[in-house]
Structure formats: C-alpha cells, structure tokens
C-alpha cells in the first residue's frame, strides 16, 4: 500500500469551537503525528470553501486520508465523505473527531478542552491510518411485492404498485377483503359512504391482472433480504375442507398492513357491556347503521342515545394512548342518530374532544349544532351506567362527574354506544417475528424513524402502514400505504439496490463453524453453511451493529469500518 498522506483539518466553527479550544495548538500537535502531511485550521470546514480546501490539498499533496476535527460525525460525516469522493479519494478514508458537541460546548476550561481535542484528533489520525477503502455494493431489486393484510391500507398499497407494473401478492387471514373499514357505514368528517369507497377498491383489486389475492391465507415464512425475499404462503381452501396449499414467491419488498383489533368493552365493568342489552360497541352500532335500523333490543327507536368516549383508551388501567378515530366517529354517530331518529336526544360523554384533522373542527361544530349534549369526564373517573327505575322515562341512567360544571349528574339513555379503542392484534408478535421487526410496549410495530421515516422499519425492505403501526384514521392509513408504495417504487425505479459498505464479514479461513454468532444476529443475517461448516454474513441484511464481531471467539468476523485494529488504534490515540 502506498505510504500514508494524512490531511488534518481543525474547524473553528466560527467561535463555537475556537472560543474554548485553542485550535492552533491542536493543529500543531496533529502536524507532528506520523503520516500527517497537512494540518490546518479553518473557520467553517463544512462551508464550500472549507470542503474546497480539502479537495485542493488532496490534489496538491496527494492526500490519501483525511481527518476533520469539527462537529459531531452525525452532523457532517456525509458532507466530508462527499468532498473526498469528489476529489477521487475513497469516502471511507475520512475520520471525524467530535470537538464541538463533545468538547467545546461542554467544557469551560480552555486548557483541558484543548488537551481533549488534541487527543481526540490524535485518535482520529491513528484510526484513519487503519482505514480500508470500502465500496458500496448493489444487488438486484425484485419488483414483486408481498402485502400482508387486505384492508383499505393493504388494498391501496397493492393497487399503487400493481398499477405501476409490479406483481402483488395480497394476503389476508380472513375470507374476505376490506378489513375493518368494510364494517363501517359512513365516514367522518364528510359523511361519505365507506361502502362506496371499499367497493371501488375491492373490485379494482379483484379485477387487477397484477394482483393475486390470497384469502384464508397466512404467510408462513419470509427469508432473504431487501429486494430478494423468498416468501411462503399457506392457503386454506375456502370451504375449510381439503388440504391447505402452499406456494412460495420471490418478492422485493413486504408491506405489513395487518391493522388493529377493537378493545373488548366487557373489560370495563362500569359500563355493563354484555349485561345491559342496550349498551353496544361502536362496531355493533355501525352494523345497525349499515342495516339502516337504529333501534333498541326491544325494537323501539331510542329517545335518548348516549355515546361514551375513550373506552379502553387514555387510561392507566388499559391503554394510555389515544385511539385517534373515536372522537370523530362519535360525532358522526351523533349526526347519524339525529338523522335516523330525528326526535332523539344525544349526549356525548368525552374526556377531551380531539378534533385535530382536516375538517374535524367544522365537523365538531356541526355536531354541536344538531344539539348534541357534550359532557366532559375526567381521565380514570369512569361514568357509571345502570338500569333505570320504573318511573324513569328511559332504559338506563349514566352517572357522570361532569368536569365543566363540577356537577355529578345523571343522564338518561335508552341506548349507549361505547367508543371502543384500538389495540394491537394478538398475532402482532407472530408477524413481528415473521418479518423480523420490533414492537413497542403496546404491541404496535415500530417504524424506522417516528418523524423522518414513518413507514420503513429497522429491517430493510419491510414496511408498515395503517393501523398496525398505531391507531389511525382512513386518510392517514391510506397516506401511509401510498408512502410505502412510493418508497418501494423509488427503489424499483433504480433497479439496483445500494447496500451500505459497512457490514460484518466472516473470514472463512478463520471461521471454525462454532456457530456462536448464529443466534446473535437480530436481522438473521448470519447463515450457516452445513457443507463448508462455516458461517457467513448476508451483507444486504447486515446492519453493522457488530454484535457478532465482538462475540466471535476466534476473531474470524470483522466489522468493516469498525475493525478491532481501527478501534485499538483509536484507544491508543486517546491514551497516548
């Protein structure tokens, strides 16, 4: 290998670094380190002139390694890697020392800060000397797609990709398409019919030449890696008799749209669900609305209808989170009741009215204009529903500690609608294991980044959309479905997949096949080859955490860009 020519650049970051750290001193000490041919300070290394300076030095002095002591690498590592690339040097020949966030901003004593900056820079120089050129590799991206769950989310995602020419396998455990939305009558806030929406989706899905619908089916296995998954699907015969059929397909991506399940209202005893005949859940009420008959079990039109919010949501006992759709659905009920039973009195018993969405506030206003009585109760202070006495003009009485008036009142009701919240499906754990993604404490699938990457997961090529990620309404679910589709289409458009150059590698000349590492990989990226008696890493699956590297008892696994030698060098650097 040609001899080292290291350039060291100490950023002043205006005064952010320079006001505490004596940058010139750092420059000086760095200059004396082995292999360093250039060592300079500059006002703003990340600025264009700053980067230009690196490029120039690379041209003039033939630098083959660069150290930038500046802000956190989490901030500008990509910037400077680019600079190296532009100058024709492998971007991985860069190392940054964090002398701002972890030095000048947190230390007052100039001398000590300078000493620290010096040793961090020294460590970077020693480390960069050990760096190896790394090339990003690319693999083929299979256009086909597996969508798990055929609700509004799954169908939308499937259609977007199918329209774009991908072959889509749309799998659902149920014997019908449509998921939960198929159980809904009208939708808030514009009161348009869910049925119409679904019929349009379903017919398109069924008729689409690129979509293969697999009902009564379960995904048994997903193996491989982004762009190159193999999936096995088991389909039970529709009539339930006969033997299940098993098919395998190659897909490039998987979208999980398994949705949610509704909270079991009988878990809250105060509401007498299951005991009082006219206490129904929101989904049971939807059924009435779809049938066009809003009436009590006795077949009478209810004079008083009460709606109770946050059943199972927003309380310590069951689910602390908000289920997000119930408020608007409740308002929808208020309006639908009024139109079904014009004379009815509707009371809406809520904790807070969450009307954050587009058109929601207007919807709330309209619902109050149809004379809905809104009653506020405090978290964890449940209303209590009991059977009314013979003298009362109603079936039931609901006792509420009404917080807006500080009065304890009794509301008459002939029918009570419980707005049951959403919770993760029991099989979410199973699904998570199947596609190797993680779940939060409530069982919802975890996205790769809550703000910047909401539909991707920590497993590349596996996406989540709709209610399986967290309770959400139809617009949000559809948005996620299309977002996921767009993410996948972007990759399909590129045709090839760029795989990060940083991953773990097994040195087969030293691997003894002890299989210590096999179980350790969270991404099942380590495969054991029984023939060769060696383990090897599927680089496309590897996320470079390094767990296997540290655990390999014979030092046969190397973490690219985080090799033992590089880290040893860094240790020597900070301690020299």
């Amino acid at each position: 290998m040609e001899d080292l020519k290291i350039g060291v650049y100490i950023c002043n970051c205006g005064t952010n670094i320079a006001k505490v750290v004596d940058c010139d001193a750092v420059v000086e000490s760095a200059a004396s380190l082995p292999g360093v041919v250039v060592s300079r300070p500059y006002k703003y290394m990340c600025s264009n002139p700053g980067q230009e300076m690196i490029v120039q030095d690379i041209k003039e002095h033939g630098l083959n390694r660069v150290v930038v002591s500046a802000c956190s690498p989490r901030m500008h590592e990509p910037t400077f890697r680019k600079a190296l690339q532009n100058a024709g040097v492998n971007p991985y020949f860069l190392e940054m020392a964090n002398i701002r966030e972890q030095c000048s901003w947190v230390h007052e004593d100039g001398a000590q800060a300078t000493e620290k900056a010096t040793s961090l820079t020294r460590a970077a120089v020693l480390r960069v000397a050990q760096h190896e050129p790394l090339e990003r590799r690319s693999v083929d991206m299979c256009k086909n797609l597996l969508v798990i769950g055929a609700g509004i989310t799954g169908m939308t995602a499937a259609l977007d990709l199918a329209d774009a020419g991908s072959k889509v396998y749309l799998v659902d455990r149920a014997d019908r398409l449509g998921g939960n939305v198929a159980r809904v009558d009208l939708t808030a806030p514009y009161l348009d019919s869910a049925r119409d929406m679904m019929t349009e989706r379903m017919t398109r899905v069924v008729e689409h030449p690129n979509i293969e619908v697999l009902l009564n089916s379960e995904v048994e296995d997903v193996s491989g890696f982004v762009g190159n998954f193999q999936t096995t699907i088991i389909s039970k015969p529709a009539d339930g008799k006969g033997t299940p059929t098993k098919v395998t397909h190659d897909v490039g991506s998987v979208i999980v749209c398994t949705g949610y399940k509704e909270f079991d209202a009988s878990r809250i005893t105060h509401y007498g669900y299951g005991k009082l005949p006219n206490v129904v859940t929101s989904f049971e009420f939807e059924k009435m609305l779809r049938a066009g008959r809003v009436e009590t079990k006795e077949g009478k039109a209810p004079q008083y209808v009460a709606i109770v919010h946050c059943v199972g949501s927003r309380n310590m006992e069951f689910h602390p989170y908000c289920s997000r759709v119930c408020c608007m659905t409740a308002l929808k009920y208020a309006q639908e009741v009024k139109s079904a039973v014009p004379g009815a009195y509707v009371s809406d018993i809520y904790i807070d009215m969450h009307a954050f969405g587009k058109g929601h506030e207007d919807f709330y206003r309209r619902s109050s204009e149809v004379k809905t009585l809104f009653l506020m109760y405090a978290k964890n202070d449940y209303p209590v529903i009991r059977k009314a006495g013979p003298k009362d003009d109603c079936e039931m009485l609901i006792e509420v500690n009404e917080t807006l008036s500080h009065e304890t009142i009794e509301i008459p009701a002939d029918m009570v609608i419980l707005m049951v919240g959403m919770e993760a499906r029991e099989d979410s754990g199973e699904i998570a294991r199947l596609v190797n993604i993680s779940r939060d404490k409530d069982g919802w699938f975890i996205e790769s980044h809550p703000k910047l990457d909401p539909v991707a997961t920590t497993t590349d090529g596996i996406y989540i959309a709709g209610g399986c990620q967290f309770p959400k309404d139809i617009p949000d679910s559809v948005a996620q479905a299309r977002a996921a589709a767009a993410r996948i289409l972007g990759r399909i458009a590129k045709g090839k997949l760029d795989i990060d150059a940083v991953f773990a590698e097994v040195d087969e000349d030293h691997c003894s096949g002890c299989r210590m590492c096999n179980e350790l990989c969270p991404y099942t990226a380590i495969e054991y080859d029984a023939e060769k008696k060696r383990s090897h890493v599927i680089s496309a699956l590897c996320k470079a955490c390094g767990a296997c590297v540290a655990a390999c008892p014979s030092g046969a696994i190397a973490a690219r860009h985080f090799t033992d030698r590089q880290i040893y060098a860094q240790i020597e650097g900070v301690l020299a």
Partner: protein, 393 residues
Amino acid sequence: MAIRANLKLIEELERYGAQDVSNCYHCGNCSATCPFSSDHSIFPRREMRMLQMGLETKLESSLDPWLCYYCGECSDDCPRDAEPGETMMSLRRWLTARYDWTGISKLFYLSWKAELLAIIIVALLAGAGFLAAGFLLGGGDISVYNGENAFLPAGESWYGLPTGTGVHLFDWILAGVLVFFLSTNCMRMWWKTMGRDKSVKVPPHLYIAKIFSLPWNFMSQARYAKCDRKRPWAIHLVLMLSYVTMLVLIMFFLERMAAGPGVDWKVHVFGLLATVGLLATTIFAMRGRVKKTESQYKHSHESDWMFLILLVVVASTGFLQFALHRSGLDVAANIAYVVHMMAVVPMLLLEVPFSKWSHLAYRPLAMYFNEVREEAATAAEKSAVPLGAAQAA
C-alpha cells in the same frame, strides 16, 4: 347525590327565545368579557352549561340572569356564536314565567297571539269602560276636558264621590292590582332563589342591612353603568327615569297635570321631558331592533315588540291629548285620552306584572338578594377557620 338532567329543557328555553345554546363549548370568553361575572357567579358560561345539561332547579334558583343587562359583548365575543347574551335574556323570560303563579306570563311568552289578544280585549274593555264612565256614570260632556262636568274628571269631587277620586281612584285600584300580582311573584322569586337555597345560610339582619341597595339600584342603574358599553346604559337610564317620572306625575299630580287650560310649567316641564325621553328611547330601540344595529337588538322576542309598541302608543297618545287640550280642542283631547287609557290599562295590568316590564321589580330585587347572599357567603368563609391558618397556629 346526582342531579337528574332534563335534556328537554333546552327546547323549552328555545321557545323563550334561546338560540344556538348547544353551540357553546365552554371556552369561557363570555364570562371573561362580562364585567359582572365574579368568582361567586361565573355567568353567562355557568348558565350556558346548566342549560345545556338541563339542570332545571339550579337554573330556577339562579339570580345571574337578572345581573345581566344584555350589553351584548359576550355574544359578540363568542367564538361559536352561541349567543350567551340572548340566552340570558331568554332565561329572564323563562324565570319571569316561573316566578308567576298565575301562569299568565308563561302564556304570554309562549304565545304572542294570546298576549296580543289579551291586550286587545283589555284595551277594548278599558275603552268601553271609560266611555261608559264618561257618558253613563257622570253623563259628562265630551266637549269638556276638565273642571266641574268634565267628560272624565281627573280629581275633583265627582257625582257625590269625595274629592280626589274620579279617574284617580281608578289609578289607585289599578296600581293595587298590579302591586298585588307583582309582589306575590316577587315572594315566589325570593323563595326559589333565596328561601329554599340551603347552600348559604343567610342571617335575616343582612336583609335589613342591605335594603338600601334596592332603591339605589332601581333609580341609579349604577350597576348597568359598569358595562363597558355605555350607550345601552344611557338609553336604559333615560327610558327608566322618564317612565318613573311619568308614573310619579300620574300617581300624585294628576290634577295639576290635567288642569288647564294654560301650561303649568312647574309640572308640565317634567311631563314633557319624560315624554320626549320615552319617545326618543323607544323609537331608538325600535329602529335598532328593525335594523339589528346592536347585538342586544339582534334577536327580538314578540314580547319585546309589544313592550315597545305599547310604550310608544302610551307616550304619543298621552302627549297628543295634552297638546289637543292645551290648544282648546277638548273633544279631540277627550277621545285621545280614552285611546291613551286603552293603552295604559293593558300596559299596567298585563305587561308590568306578567311580561317584560316585570324586570323593573325582579332585577333590583335580584341585585339586592345577590348582595345579601355574597355578604353571607363571605361572612361564612371568614368564620370558617382556614386550613393554612390552623396549621400556622
């Protein structure tokens, strides 16, 4: 103990003029802008809530509606157009009906036709009565306005009756009837608002201590002056003073009022001023209600119109007969007088005790009661040993 909510109450109130009450989502802007809203009574928000929830008894025992003069700021500031001002107004109507044991108020407020019919009947009876009294009883001369054989003698002894009677006597009877109804209803008001309220223990002496507030509030409208908007207060004050002046003149100076010819300025100057005041303010109000210039004029219940129309008629006919008489057209004056009385009698007999007018009694009373209650409340707070103090000691 939980209070049973009457979800139908809101509809009942709507028939008294309440509007869009259910729009309210209790932001509290109304109470924030209202200068009268206090820690003891956070209105109109509290009333809006009680009404929405149908807490009938609580509303019935509330004095708050009377403490509001409907300057209209709350309605203007309401982000939901829930019209708290109008709600308070309709609550006053509703309360008036609740206070009234005869049920006439309720009838009037709920059916303007009934009210109108009653007014017409009483007017006709009055007209007939006066004509009869003029022609038959005294066999008076319609061409004579006052003096010995006046058509409707104001005060002199008259056909054997002692001096100081005549129409005057009728005034007093009328006043008696009015006072009877009004005072009995006021008693009921006291019972509903103070008497049965066990939450605050009111020692009787407080009633005496605070008694002065009654005439003071009545005359001065001082509280109304606290409203941010001054014009409604000014107008109300003028109207009220003119009205009272007129009342006093008629009850105590009728002879001198009627006497003529020639103008007895010492008396008539007041009469004229009052008339002008009455006409000006009522016409302003009517114009406002037609044009909906100010928020307190935006919504008009039929009872409001009756009130104004009667006032205008009374004032104008009163002035007319005065003018005719002074210009020596006694026949015309007498006719005008009868017409005048056809308006005055239903006004005093129906409107004052049973309709909008009754607030001349209820509002000052409410303020009086309110002061008494607040005094009692603060006294109670003082006497109770505060926790902090107990620990500190």
